[in-house]
Amino acid sequence: MHILILGGNSDIGLAIARTYAEKEGASLTLASRDTGELERNASDLSIRYGVEVDTVRFDACDFDAHRDFYKQLENRPDGVVLAFGYNGDQERAQADAEEQRTIIETNFLGAASILRVVAEDFEVRANRDGESLFIIGLSSVAGERGRKANYVYGSSKAGLSAYLSGLRQRLAPQGIQVVTVKPGYVDTKMTAGMDLPGPLVLSPDKVARKTYSAWKRGKSVTYVTWYWRVIITLVKMVPERLFKRLEI
């Protein structure tokens, strides 16, 4: 099994890479912008798990290059993990058009752009060779309802969730599994220094374990923890009239 990790320097992407290397002996391609860090992460994975790991430069926002990026991969992936993301800064995004654009471009346009290419290839391969292929997309509970605290990020993830959901329906007949992972707060580089609600915070390894078991059991959407599912259900139930006055 060969897995392509888009966002190969992200904590969650790496945790998923470790899990597949350990449990499936999967070989890996790590893709990201910072190729220096990528090399280090690749060495670590190959030493720890004795699997082949290669690296390739990938920029989520360089949409025009996505097709070539994918075509030129040395190893055809059986699974693609979309783990890149840009949290950004909500307040800055309100003041600065560039910041807002980067958030949406990275999380939504970037994801949609590369997934289109992947889906095209997977569809052909599944039809022709009956390979079992899968896509795992890291979305977020922030995409479930826009809140003033992070609606730019949240809406970009909402777009991604909807995209994945449609993709799942399209690819299901070919037996291609699409898993949407919706973590809550995760303790990562992205959230370092943020004031997070302690007990609700998950480790990247926990997210990876959950993702792996969702994939194994053929699930479509996983919320990573049951309490997020409950919280989100409640938050979604609040009528808009009331919601706009809430401080959540």
Binding site: G36, R40, D44, I47, R48, K189, A192
Partner: protein, 431 residues
């Protein structure tokens, strides 16, 4: 983020700004009061400062030369990770502490010694080169050839020369994950000294000493000598370690309970001489069976007192120390005696050719005065106290024990590190 932190002994406790040393970037360090922190297994105040940089996020293995057993890795890699990855391939850390929950950076900064010091020296003796993050964000490469002074200051330098980022070190080939272990019972100090010498050609040896026993039984102990088997078995499984859910009340550890424990432990071994086979966990890391055993000492925490005496004074010296302890009634739950080989060239490295004894003391009234008394005894005998376990010695005692201090200070000053990197310990000891 401000957090309440302490060393493994849970004494002293302080508030510190805790930051993560994230991969891929060079942090802007504050101008003073910064220190690196690994897994926090040093007992006292050496990994405490106004600002702590946790190295754990940098824990990648960068290169492994399977011919020579040379590993290049980041300093946040723990020994537990090393074991998990390398034991199944037939490699073992060249030197290991009595817990696997320490980092490579911490092992270099403390210049850790193991049960094989008498034969193989310290951890840093197997480190070929390392990189160090200095005050202004510069990165120094050092080895015995390149910036050698900085290398010898950093190995054993308790983080006071900067943050170790990476190291290249040699692992040791092993032919099995099992060890042949010989356990010998010694009635008294004289006998344990004789046995330690007699079994000195075993690669690993350590004695567990009942320091509550006095009189004719003074120094009664169990010697454990081990060597790796060659049967080709390389299985390694880690058991989850249960924890102690809350801090136990301090009064649970008193003279009575400690004596009883010690006597039980001693008498559990029946024969004068027994041999058996043990795995890596039970031989090297028996304390890791309970994940946070430091909580048994109660709220006040505990001190570990580890000193070494030069060989010519070891026997008489240990005898006096043990007599003092047994008379004081300050029970030590665990006392460990080791034989040490020659000292190395690192300026603040602890080991000295002779014998070392490590004792745990619950923090209680009178303890500090009592230990001040032991300090004088140790200093008069030409010994020294281990920095990574210390939380209380005076700068005078420290200076007497570590003749390399002057050169250490010079190196720190010449690289402009003295202001930036300082711990509670370095302030107390006026390093």
């Amino acid at each position: 983020m401000k957090k309440t932190v302490s060393g493994w002994g849970r004494y002293p406790v302080m508030e510190a700004e805790v930051r993560e040393l994230l991969p891929g970037s060079t942090p802007a360090l504050p101008e003073e009061g910064v220190i690196a922190r690994g897994l926090g297994r040093s007992y006292g105040d050496s990994a405490l400062a106004d600002t702590l940089y946790r190295t754990l996020p940098r824990n990648r293995m960068l290169d492994f030369d399977g011919e020579r057993g040379e590993l290049h890795c980041e300093a946040g890699v723990s020994f537990a990770e090393l074991l998990r990855v390398f034991v199944p391939r037939g490699w073992f850390p060249p030197v290991t502490a009595g817990t696997k929950h320490i980092t490579v950076g911490g092992a270099i900064a403390s210049d850790v010694h193991g049960k094989n010091h008498h034969r193989d020296g310290c951890f840093s003796d197997y480190v070929r080169e390392l990189t160090l993050l200095g005050p202004g964000g510069e990165i120094f490469a050092c080895s015995r050839e390149e910036n050698p002074e900085l290398f010898h200051a950093t190995c054993g330098g308790m983080g006071l020369t900067g943050i170790i980022l990476e190291a290249r070190m040699r692992m040791r080939p092993i032919g099995s994950s099992k060890l042949d272990v010989m356990t010998l019972k010694a009635e008294n100090l004289e006998e344990i000294f004789r046995l330690m010498e007699e079994y000195g050609d075993w690669p690993y040896s350590v004695a567990w000493l009942d320091c509550m026993a006095g009189g004719r039984k003074l120094g009664r102990s169990l010697l454990m000598a081990g060597r790796f088997r060659e049967d080709g078995r390389l299985d390694y499984t880690e058991k989850a370690a249960p924890g102690i859910p809350f801090t136990l009340p301090g009064f649970l550890l008193n003279r009575g309970t400690v004596s009883a424990f010690n006597a039980l432990y001693y008498h559990r071994v029946r024969g004068k001489r027994t041999s058996g086979i043990q795995d890596i966990h039970s031989f090297f890391y028996p304390l890791d069976i309970i994940s946070n055993w430091n909580r048994i000492y109660g709220r006040q925490g505990f001190l570990q007192y580890q000193f070494v005496l030069p060989k010519e004074n070891s026997y008489e010296g240990m005898k006096s120390v043990l007599e003092e302890i047994s008379a004081s009634g300050m029970g030590s739950f665990l006392s460990v005696l080791k034989l040490m080989g020659p000292e190395n060239d690192n300026f603040l490295s602890f080991p000295l050719e002779g014998y070392t004894l490590a004792l745990d003391f619950k923090v209680q009234p009178g303890l500090f005065d009592f230990l001040d008394g032991l300090d004088c005894l140790v200093a008069d005998l030409g010994g020294r106290i281990y920095l990574t376990k210390d939380a209380r010695m005076s700068s005078g005692i420290f200076e007497e024990g570590y003749p390399g201090l002057q050169r250490f200070r010079e190196v720190r000053n010449s690289y402009g590190m003295a202001g930036c990197f300082e711990s509670e310990q370095s302030r107390r000891l006026e390093i």
